[in-house]
């Protein structure tokens, strides 16, 4: 943990509210980015991140310092986003069907035909957004934020096995979406033994 953050965390744990506010200022953009990746829109991300910092403030005494403050915030943010998305799906009847076909079949988006990094990044963000929220959460936490399976399972309220299954499916979907021509062609070809 950077020294400045460590000092602020220590002061905040001792009850210094202004130190906690400084911590918020130093880390909120990062937490917001994660919240946005998990929820897929600004308004929800803002609600999630507010809730996350409130929980962090109330639970600061529980922060043991064995992980960085940022990682601790990622876990809280993931937990808040998970609860938020469950509530949202109840209200909006969001389609969580795992079998939804998401592959984008436009040939012009084959990444081999496009080397532009910004475009690839945008397409990846779009592909992530198209995933069902439960799959998106796992792949973002694991493959973008490097959280261990155990932590992901704990924050999302699922088993480690379920987290791994969701990750497997999410990676497969993303590959199919980002590399549509190959996926389609592979689907048409018959299996061959080597």
């Amino acid at each position: 943990m950077p020294t400045d953050l460590a000092v602020l965390v220590a002061a905040a744990v001792d009850g210094d509210r202004s130190a906690f506010e400084e911590l918020v200022k130093a880390t909120y953009a990062d937490a917001y980015t994660l919240a946005f990746r998990l929820t897929g829109n600004e308004e929800d991300a803002r609600d999630v991140v507010q809730d996350a910092y409130l929980r962090a403030y109330k639970g600061l005494k529980k922060f043991r310092g064995d992980a960085s403050f940022s990682t601790w915030m990622y876990r809280i943010t993931a937990n808040c986003a998970s609860s938020y998305l469950v509530k949202r799906s109840r209200n909006r009847h969001e389609n969580l069907d795992d079998e939804t076909h998401l592959a984008d079949e436009r040939p012009e988006i084959d990444p081999e035909l496009r080397a532009d990094a910004a475009s690839e990044r945008r397409r990846l963000a779009d592909a992530l957004e198209s995933l069902p929220p439960d799959m998106r959460a796992v792949v973002v936490l694991r493959d973008v934020y490097d959280l261990p399976h155990e932590a992901i399972a704990a924050e999302l309220g699922i088993t480690e096995g379920a987290a791994k299954v969701r990750l497997h499916r999410a990676r497969k979907r993303l590959r199919e979406r980002l590399f549509p021509l190959r996926a389609e062609r592979d689907g048409e070809e018959s299996a061959h033994a080597v």
């Binding site: 917001y32 990676r171 980002l178």
Partner: protein
Amino acid sequence: MQCEHVHELLPEVVDGNHQADPDVVDHVQGCLRCQAELVQYRRLLRALHNLRTEVLEPAPGTLSGILAHIEAVGERGAIRSLLSGRRAAYVGGLAVATAAAGAGAIVLLGRGKRRVRAA
């Protein structure tokens, strides 16, 4: 071993956390189709990992919203502790007053008895 079987395993083995079966490794080494798919997964993982460095601009009002929430909770906590302090003082005062009243009553009773005996 068939490509379909290997394709099912690639999303797990691509990050190196899951040890691939030697048969799978042998198959991939000799199969261009599976190699191509593995490359796609590696590319996907690299792109996902690179997203980590991207920090989005938070929506306007996010920081002030967070700070306002924390301030509200801090103030509620302060009010609660003030009230609980006052409650303790009130209960303490009541206890002292009761004890004083009891002591006064005992003293008065004692004087009354002495007067009766003197009479």
